[in-house]
């Protein structure tokens, strides 16, 4: 027995820099993993955590997220050739959402780029991509790429009271930080970087600090947030929040193109409704000619936001163009009953040519071990389901 446990001990999940506090609060011991880190599905109750995000504030451990620092005179040119968006006009201390594609214009991943200095950027993304970065940097003179994933402690603080809590902690003027801006604050003789970013579509911030200060940061944050409903949230609540915000997630809305085997089982930015991230006016970038063609002929599928009749989540359902459900035109990628919007919402990939017609879905659900199905009409929503004004305003409105 001991032999066995030794044999696999190298495979044990890594612990986040916040792990001592996360473990304490994870009263359900519901763990999964993300990039080799032990990672909570939920701590107490997913719905409760979701309501913290929407009504008070909550923290989400983003230590397992990949973080690369890309530095050098040619760093900007290298990134601009890799991603579809133009970062040449980006100002320092700004963050931008980006995607990058294969030569064929299929999406490799999405992520955010932080401009830390004129020649220094941080790229964050869900999956490891050092191999792709290395290939992308080849041939550019002065670029260095450092994987900082394990060397930065990062924590998302999301929800309407998040700004107040940070102010309580002593980060005065945090309220002047605009969405996608970065501010630096002195913290225990070092620096705490705060960006007004997140994955919940709500008011929120992400905090970046060196690992040695992770526990101090946590404790001070939780002390300041005690009266503001602060609570950690896990993967399940995150997923609920991001669906309401209309954000895409690998494994749901898209497959990372470098990992797909079958032809066109991956997606283009146009299919994912991310055409606005593709800038044909800038210089050459990867996948450009394929994407030009795609733009010309139009994407085969389009990611669509659906408001569905009734209250049964349309998880895994097909979408049809008729009530008889005889002509299939797409599939649901994510679905939920949204407590905040009070609607049955879903994201779905639908054949572009059918977007103007009727949309129906057949929903399967279970009631006390019995299977039922029902056909429900879908309505297309153009805006994200959840877009509170506080998420965009500076200073944010607080309640």
């Amino acid at each position: 027995m001991t032999n066995n446990s030794e044999a696999f001990s190298g495979e044990r999940l890594k612990q986040s820099h916040f792990h001592p506090r996360l473990a304490e609060l994870n009263i359900r011991d519901s763990w999964s993993s993300w990039n080799g880190y032990k990672f909570a599905n939920y701590y107490y109750d997913a719905e409760y955590e979701y309501f913290c995000v929407r009504n008070t504030c909550a923290t989400y451990d983003i230590c397992p997220m990949q973080k690369y620092v890309i530095k050098g005179v040619d760093a900007e040119a290298m990134l601009n050739r890799m991603i579809t968006r133009d970062i040449s006009k980006m100002r320092q201390n700004r963050v931008t959402y980006v995607v990058w594609c294969t030569d064929e214009g299929r999406m490799v991943d999405d992520g955010t780029i932080f401009k830390l200095a004129s020649d220094e950027f941080m790229l964050t993304c869900g999956s490891p991509c050092s191999a792709w970065l290395e290939k992308s940097a080849f041939g550019f003179g002065d670029v260095s790429i450092t994987d900082k994933s394990d060397e930065i402690a990062a924590l998302a603080l999301q929800g309407p009271t998040s700004c107040t809590v940070l102010r309580k902690m002593g980060f005065t003027e945090i309220e002047t930080t605009k969405p996608f801006n970065i501010k630096h604050f002195p913290f225990h003789g070092d620096t705490l970087m705060i960006s007004r970013t997140g994955f919940t579509g709500d008011l929120g911030y992400e905090l970046w600090v060196k690992p040695e200060l992770a526990i101090d940061l946590w404790d001070e944050l939780y002390a300041a947030g005690a009266n503001y409903g602060i609570h950690p949230f896990g993967e399940t609540a995150t997923n609920m929040a991001r669906i309401e915000a209309g954000f895409i997630m690998p494994g749901f809305e898209f497959n990372e193109a470098l990992k797909t085997v079958h032809f066109e089982h991956d997606q283009t930015p146009f299919e994912l409704n991310l055409g606005w991230l593709v800038d044909f006016k800038k210089k050459h970038f990867n996948g450009r000619s394929a994407l030009l063609q795609e733009q010309k002929k139009g994407p085969k599928y389009t990611l669509t936001k659906l408001d569905i009749e009734g209250s049964k989540p349309a998880e895994g359902a097909y979408v049809y163009s008729n009530k008889r459900c005889s002509r299939e035109i797409g599939y649901v990628t994510s679905a939920m009953w949204s407590p905040s919007v009070k609607a049955n919402i879903a994201l779905a990939m639908i054949k572009t040519e059918h977007l103007s017609g009727e949309l129906w879905t057949e929903i399967y659900y279970e009631k006390e071990l019995r299977q039922y199905s029902k056909v429900a009409r879908c309505t297309i929503k153009d805006k994200p389901f959840w877009t509170p004004a506080r998420a965009r305003l500076t200073p944010p409105l607080e309640n």
């Binding site: 040119a77 050739r81 290939k135 080849f138 041939g139 050459h284 996948g287 450009r288 000619s289 030009l292």
Partner: protein, 514 residues
Amino acid sequence: MRRYDSIIIGAGHNGLICASYLARSGQKVLVLESSESLGGLASSGEFYPGFKTSIAHTVNHFSQKIANDLDLASHGFNSKSGSLPIVGLSIDGNHLVLKGNELSGVAPEDSQAYGTYLDSMQRFADMLKPFWLKTVPRIGSNRLPELLSFASLGLNLRLLGKDAMREFLRVFSLPMRDLMDENFDNDILKAMLSWDGLIGSKLAPRSPNNSVLALLYRMSGGQDDAHQVTTEGVRGLIAALHSSAAAAGVEVRSGTSVHRIHVGENDAGLVATGVHLKDSEQIDADNIVSSADPQSTFLNLVGVEHLEIEFTNRIRRLRCDGYVAKLHLALDDLPKFSGLTRPDGRMIIAPNLDAIEFAYDDAKYGDFSQQPVMEIVIPSLQDKSLAPDGQHVLSANIMYVPYNLKKGWDKKAREDLCKLVIDVIERYAPDIRSHILYEEVLTPLDLEQIYGVTGGHWHHTEFALDQLFMMRPTFGAAQYSTPISGLYLCGAGCHPGGGLMGGPGHNAAREILR
């Protein structure tokens, strides 16, 4: 400013051939060559006052079709003269000589086996021959002419008959050693016949992959034009190509290096519209055709910022390290090779297949062998213009000298190599040292620097199955066109490959004119 239909980068034989075809079809063509002399790896130059030589020292499979199309005979190239016997040098002076189809110096069994071997190999070579002058279709292509070239290969294969077809499929990817062992007994014979399948590649007798295919490629010239140095030599071929190109209206500027290929944009993507010279002068043309090797074309002249990431990665991973070095000797008299009346053949020093294999083993690990194997020609015996009266030039291709020498190529390493090679030659030609006026050794690194060919590679990039046919140099650039419209490749890095054959230049012109 004059505008050109096509600009060809590089005046190697392929660049000149491509230029001639384009000009003959009515295009206004400019060839830009960095070096002062034309011919690239086949150019001739003085390496010691009064003594000239070229890197490629023999012609053997130059395409007769191209010679006819470009009327090279009337420009002074005689493709049917001066064929050289192959001589397998033996330390005891009992050399093997292969003259035409006549093999001497071996037992009757080997002699007889050679006849049978040659018959079947020559049939295979003839069967493949048309393929070298075709464009290999893209996988997934449904263009009829492209598919027909596959079909015709298939048909040729069928026409061999069932047994021969099976034999071909068995043999073409066989390690050279197996092919030799099953046919012959004599060690020197095996080494000598293997030579043309191995030279220029990173392959040894025991390497699987395609040395037999390389041999068949080199046999595509047919039996009557074995390796030769014509009276005008390799120099004569390049001069004829130049003269034919000039007659067709091609403008050639030597001593003019292309610094960058100018890449612009249109609705469909990127387009090559011209070239920048070192002094930043820009010359525009509708087609930019590069005979520089693929790595240098894409990574240096185009620049990765204009290329896709996965494509760039494939170009970067091309195997371009050369393994052939050259020795040039200026001699005050003809050396005496023991046992030979006249050293007028292509002399191979490789006592057996193991000698070749062991030399390769050293190179694999970044060293050159203490017992180098080589091919020697004294081209001044045919081409009198190469040396002053009564004096001579010796030219040797030394196999398995790595581009990436582990200890680095410095003066000492070059001198060591030079001494080693001359030591070996001395065993067969004891008086050689007394005739040497000057010696020059060129490592693959030197060849890269002087001739602008990445890795100093014989074929610009490895001639191996993963980089052949519709994969040469890599998919996305294997049909002479490239991901950048208006930019074409026409050098040895394209199908069919290197050597003085002309296929890439010929095929590229056809694709451009399509």
